[in-house]
């Protein structure tokens, strides 16, 4: 169609002729689109970060936690997780799965003149292989040291910094945890953390030592980790764990459990749930600003139609049909909105980049988000452009020509 080219050219010429006005009008669309993109970038970035953390921490790991065992509103059963549960798991399903219990508390740690407060984790040697920890210096503790309640410690990669001493020099030295002397036998390689666990900042000691020497006979575990051979085998693992612990706790399969089994993707789900409300709010704001932008477009298109009444008359006198005129103004609104959309996407990218630089939160913009934003601004152009365009198209040629 040769007319189509003319239509687009006229639309562009009209926008250029009123550059300032067009620019100010599209601002609403620009801001709206930028808001959408920034919002998506932040949400997507955070989600991706959580995803990465989960992958870093292992996607094949199930976490058993105490609690959630309520019967008729009253806490029932033991509602605790003990070493016996971990031992039962190891006895019954340990040949397929790797098991590591964990007890945790924060204590003062001192070495020479330095002191810091660190999370102290009591666990089994299996913990290190379960989480694929590697050593920078020294060695892990072993089964014998757990049996013997030995005071040995493996430090997370950031702990030497806390104690202001290079990791290599700390191995073989004695540090004080809650005033109790421990020999440092190893320093872990950097692992990276997740929101919910920071192994690099932790100190790992044998479970028995932690329970009886440090925490004063405390026997409630924080959690038991179970690693399946592969992420595909989480479901059978879940069933096995449930069976074993129910038997330990004497809970019938029909009753509610007093423990919970989570997998790492549950964390992502929880995270998504919380961010969703926030996202909806932001989407609402972005939507309103796009709506306001659209009304601005409609307003300026009505002005444009009125201003150009004579031109419409001339074009009609020369053979332009209603449809041609309708398209003419629709394309103009569309071009304005899509231009605004493009600028908005660029602005959104800029804002996301700025946020990353300033606050370090990671951002990511999906290609679909860009497509949706542009599509949406085009839709706004069509929606708010159609009425002014229709008004232009139904003008009577002679009335339009007479218009002063």
């Amino acid at each position: 169609m040769f007319i189509l080219r003319e239509i687009v050219m006229v639309a562009m010429a009209s926008i250029r002729a009123n550059a300032l006005r067009s620019g100010l009008t599209t601002l609403g669309i620009v801001i709206g689109t930028a808001a959408v993109i920034t919002m998506v970038a932040l949400g997507e970035g955070a989600q991706r970060q959580v995803q990465e953390q989960i992958e870093n921490m292992g996607t094949n790991i199930l976490t058993v936690r105490p609690g959630q065992g309520f019967f008729r509103g009253v806490a029932s059963g033991s509602r605790r997780l003990e070493e016996d549960d971990a031992l039962a798991l190891r006895d019954q399903i340990g040949h397929v799965y790797e098991i590591a219990p964990e007890i945790e508390s924060r204590y003062q740690v001192t070495y020479a003149r330095s002191n810091s407060s660190n999370s102290i984790v009591g666990t089994w040697p299996s913990f290190f292989s379960l989480y694929n920890h590697e050593l920078e210096h020294g060695r892990f503790f072993d089964e014998g040291e757990v049996q013997g309640r030995r005071r040995v410690a493996v430090l997370g990669s950031n702990v030497p910094d806390d104690l202001e001493t290079p990791g290599g020099l700390l191995v073989g030295r004695t540090i004080q945890i809650r005033g109790i002397p421990f020999e440092v036998i190893g320093v872990l390689r950097e692992k990276g953390g997740a929101m919910w666990m920071q192994p690099d900042d932790q100190i790992f000691i044998p479970l028995s030592t932690a329970m009886y020497r440090v925490m004063g006979g405390r026997d409630r575990l924080r959690s038991i980790y179970v690693a399946a051979p592969s992420p595909d085998e989480l479901d059978p693992a879940w069933a096995e764990i449930d069976r074993v612990i129910r038997r330990e706790h004497r809970i019938l399969p029909t009753e509610e459990a007093d423990f919970s089994i989570q997998q790492s993707s549950d964390i992502l789900e929880t995270f998504n749930e919380t961010t969703q409300t926030f996202s909806l709010l932001l989407a609402g704001i972005a939507g309103v600003s796009l709506l306001v932008g659209g009304i601005g477009i409609m307003n300026i298109m009505l002005v444009s139609v009125t201003e150009r009444t004579r031109e419409i008359g001339v074009r009609k006198a020369l053979g332009a049909t209603r449809k041609t005129i309708l398209f003419q103004f629709l394309v103009e609104a569309l071009v304005l909105c899509v231009l605004g959309g493009i600028l908005g996407v660029a602005g959104g990218f800029g804002a996301a980049e700025l946020i990353t630089r300033l606050y370090g939160s990671s951002t990511a913009v999906a290609a679909e988000a860009v497509a949706v934003a542009l599509g949406f601004s085009a839709a706004i152009g069509l929606f708010f452009g159609i009425w002014p365009a229709r008004r232009a198209s139904i003008l009577d040629p002679i009335d339009a020509l007479r218009y002063e």
Binding site: M1, V314, L318, P397
Partner: protein, 248 residues
């Protein structure tokens, strides 16, 4: 498609016997509140191919209203109108746009050019709406601009042209689709006497080449160039006669 536009000039359908305009009891009333203005009150008229008709009459006698009706810019309140044997008064909106585009060339007193477009683009407009390719469009627009003597002003915009030049652009635009009928409502109303003569001579030349023209004018020395004069008064034809003392 393109050939349809040329049909008018080279002779209309056989059944019309060379009649370009045929009106029967054509009327246009304007209703303004309680009052009805009867601008055209029943005009029966026939204009044959090749005629050069001058419409005259006092101000407010309905000349422009009548021109707008036969130019398909306006629709009659009553009566019928055939253009080249085709009953125009019952056509749809889109069909009327097509008739305006292909069969009629309209020249206005106030030129009605697009101020931001070049002379060439202004002349190309009817061809754009006729769906002519850009190369062909350019060729034909240049041809008509050369015909009206503006070969060296094609890339000028209307504000950069004199009144006479603007009207010549408008004439080139009206002619570009080779319409069966060229209508001009006081085309020299905004021009000085020397430019007026240029335009009138141009119209006369076009008529000699076979172009059917209907022209509205107040001035009898312009009407003198026409082959026929129609005097309107109060919305009715008062006198209609062949022009004996025709110039040329």
């Amino acid at each position: 498609m393109r050939n349809r536009g040329r049909r008018g000039q080279n002779g209309s359908n056989s059944e019309t016997n060379g009649v370009v305009i045929h009106t029967e009891d054509l009327r246009k009333y304007y209703i303004l509140g309680a009052e009805t203005v009867r601008a055209v009150r029943g005009v029966d008229l026939e204009v044959k191919r090749g005629e050069f008709v001058a419409i005259m009459g006092p101000s407010g006698s309905g000349k422009s209203t009548f021109m707008n009706l036969i130019g398909c810019l306006d629709t009659p309140t009553r009566g019928d109108y055939w253009l080249n044997g085709r009953k125009v008064s019952e056509l749809s909106d889109d069909q009327l746009a097509r008739v305006r585009n292909r069969d009629i060339g309209f020249v206005f007193q106030t030129f009605n050019l697009l101020p931001r477009a070049t002379a060439l683009h202004n002349v190309e407009l009817p061809l754009i709406y006729a769906g002519v390719s850009s190369r062909e469009r350019r060729k034909r627009a240049e041809e008509k601009l050369t015909l009206v003597g503006l070969a060296d002003r094609m890339d000028h915009r209307p504000p950069e042209l004199s009144g006479g030049q603007r009207q010549r652009v408008a004439i080139a635009r009206a002619l570009v689709n080779d319409p069966a009928l060229l209508l001009a409502d006081e085309p020299t109303g905004n021009l000085d006497s020397r430019t007026t003569m240029e335009i009138v001579e141009m119209l006369a030349t076009l008529n000699q080449a076979g172009q059917t023209i209907v022209l509205v004018t107040h001035e009898s020395d312009i009407a003198a160039w026409a082959s026929r004069q129609i005097h309107l008064n109060d919305g009715l034809v008062e006198r209609d006669f062949e022009n004996e003392g025709k110039v040329n």
